[in-house]
C-alpha cells in the first residue's frame, strides 16, 4: 500500500513537472517575462532563472522515476514548490496581479490565485511522501 502511494506520488510529480517545463524550455524569453512579472528577483537573475529552472524541472521529473535518485529529486521538488508557493503568496498579499507562469508562459494565462498556492501545498505533500519513503530495498522487504 505504502509502496503504491510512493510510486503514485512520484509519477504524479514527474508528470506535473514534465508538463510544466515544456513551454518554458520551448520559449525561454516568454518564461523570462513571466519571471519578470513576478517582481521578486533582481533583474540580473531573471534570465539565469529562466534558463536553468525549466531544465532543473525536467531533470528532476525524470529523476523521480529512477528509484536511486527519487529521494533527492523529491527534496528538490519540495524546495522548488516551497519557493513557488512563497512567491505566489507574497504577490497575492501585496496585490500584484500576475499569471502563475506554472504551465503556460503566455501573457494571457489566468491570473495566479490562492488555488495555485493550495495546489502547490498538495504537491508538496506528495513530494513529502516520496521523500520520507524507505529506500526501494526497504519497500520491497515490507511488500514481501
Amino acid at each position: 500500500m505504502r509502496r503504491a502511494a510512493v510510486l503514485l506520488s512520484a509519477v504524479l510529480l514527474a508528470v506535473v513537472f514534465l508538463v510544466a517545463c515544456i513551454p518554458k524550455i520551448a520559449s525561454p524569453h516568454d518564461f523570462a517575462v513571466a519571471v519578470f512579472r513576478y517582481q521578486v528577483l533582481p533583474y540580473g537573475l531573471i534570465n539565469i532563472a529562466a534558463v536553468y529552472l525549466p531544465w532543473l524541472e525536467l531533470v528532476t521529473a525524470l529523476a523521480l522515476l529512477v528509484p536511486g535518485w527519487r529521494r533527492g529529486a523529491a527534496l528538490i521538488v519540495l524546495l522548488l514548490l516551497a519557493v513557488f508557493a512563497g512567491a505566489m503568496t507574497f504577490n497575492l498579499l501585496r496585490g500584484v496581479n500576475v499569471s502563475c507562469g506554472c504551465f503556460s508562459v503566455s501573457d494571457e494565462a489566468a491570473s495566479s490565485g490562492w488555488w495555485n498556492v493550495v495546489r502547490n501545498l498538495v504537491l508538496m505533500a506528495a513530494a513529502w511522501i516520496v521523500f520520507r519513503a524507505p529506500d526501494s530495498k526497504g519497500l520491497t522487504d515490507r511488500a514481501e
Binding site: I25, A26, S27, P28, H29, A32, V33, F36, R37, Q39, Y43, G44, I46, N47, I48, A50, V51, Y52, P54, W55, L56, L58, V59, T60, A63, G68, W69, R71, G72, A73, L75, I76, G95, V96, N97, S99, D107, E108, A110, S111, D135
Partner: protein, 168 residues
C-alpha cells in the same frame, strides 16, 4: 531521527543525487542556451522592458508631467489596469478600473466611454508592471487608436505628489 550509519548513508545518497540532478540541469541549461536559436542573453536590463516593448509596438509613452497635464485638462480617460483591490486602495482620481486579468468581465462597464479615437491613458503600479501595456494592446486590437501608455504608473504619480483617491 537516529544518527545511525544507515541514516547517514541515506542522507549522503540523497545529497549526492541532489547535486547530480542540479549539475545535469546546469549542463543541459547552459548547452541549450548556447546552441538554441531561441537563446536569451544571460543578463538583461529589465528596467526599461515595458517601455521597450511598447515602443516596438509603436505605442506612445507619456511622462508623469504629461500625464498630469492630461489629467488637469481632462482630455483623456485614465484606465487603471491593476487588480480591483489595488484600484480600490489608491488610484488616479477619476480613473476607471480595467484590470488586464479581468478585461472580459470589466469591459462592458467601460466600453460606453471608449470611442475609437477617444484619448485614453493606461497605467498600472509602476515601471515593473506590464498590465497597462497589455491592456493598451488589447484595446488597440478592439479598434481604439488613441491610446498612450503611462509607464511610470501609480508609483511615479504618487512620488510626484499628485493627488490620488481611494474607495470603490
Amino acid at each position: 531521527m537516529t544518527d545511525s550509519p544507515n541514516a547517514r548513508n541515506r542522507l549522503r545518497e540523497t545529497l549526492s543525487s541532489v547535486f547530480a540532478i542540479a549539475a545535469i540541469a546546469a549542463v543541459l541549461g547552459t548547452a541549450a542556451n548556447v546552441i538554441s536559436p531561441r537563446r536569451i542573453p544571460w543578463v538583461e536590463d529589465w528596467s526599461h522592458y515595458i517601455e521597450a516593448r511598447a515602443l516596438q509596438e509603436g505605442m506612445t509613452l507619456i511622462t508623469t508631467a504629461e500625464a498630469w497635464e492630461y489629467f488637469q485638462r481632462g482630455t483623456h480617460i485614465f484606465l487603471d489596469a491593476r487588480s480591483d483591490a489595488e484600484y480600490r486602495q489608491e488610484r488616479i482620481p477619476g480613473a476607471f478600473s480595467l484590470p488586464f486579468m479581468a478585461m472580459e468581465e470589466k469591459m462592458p462597464e467601460v466600453q460606453f466611454l471608449l470611442g475609437p479615437s477617444f484619448p485614453i491613458v493606461t497605467y498600472c503600479s509602476g515601471e515593473t508592471c506590464d498590465e497597462s501595456f497589455l491592456v493598451a494592446v488589447e484595446l488597440r486590437k478592439q479598434g481604439m487608436t488613441n491610446i498612450v501608455l503611462y509607464a511610470g504608473g501609480m508609483e511615479k504619480w504618487v512620488e510626484a505628489g499628485h493627488p490620488s483617491e481611494r474607495g470603490p
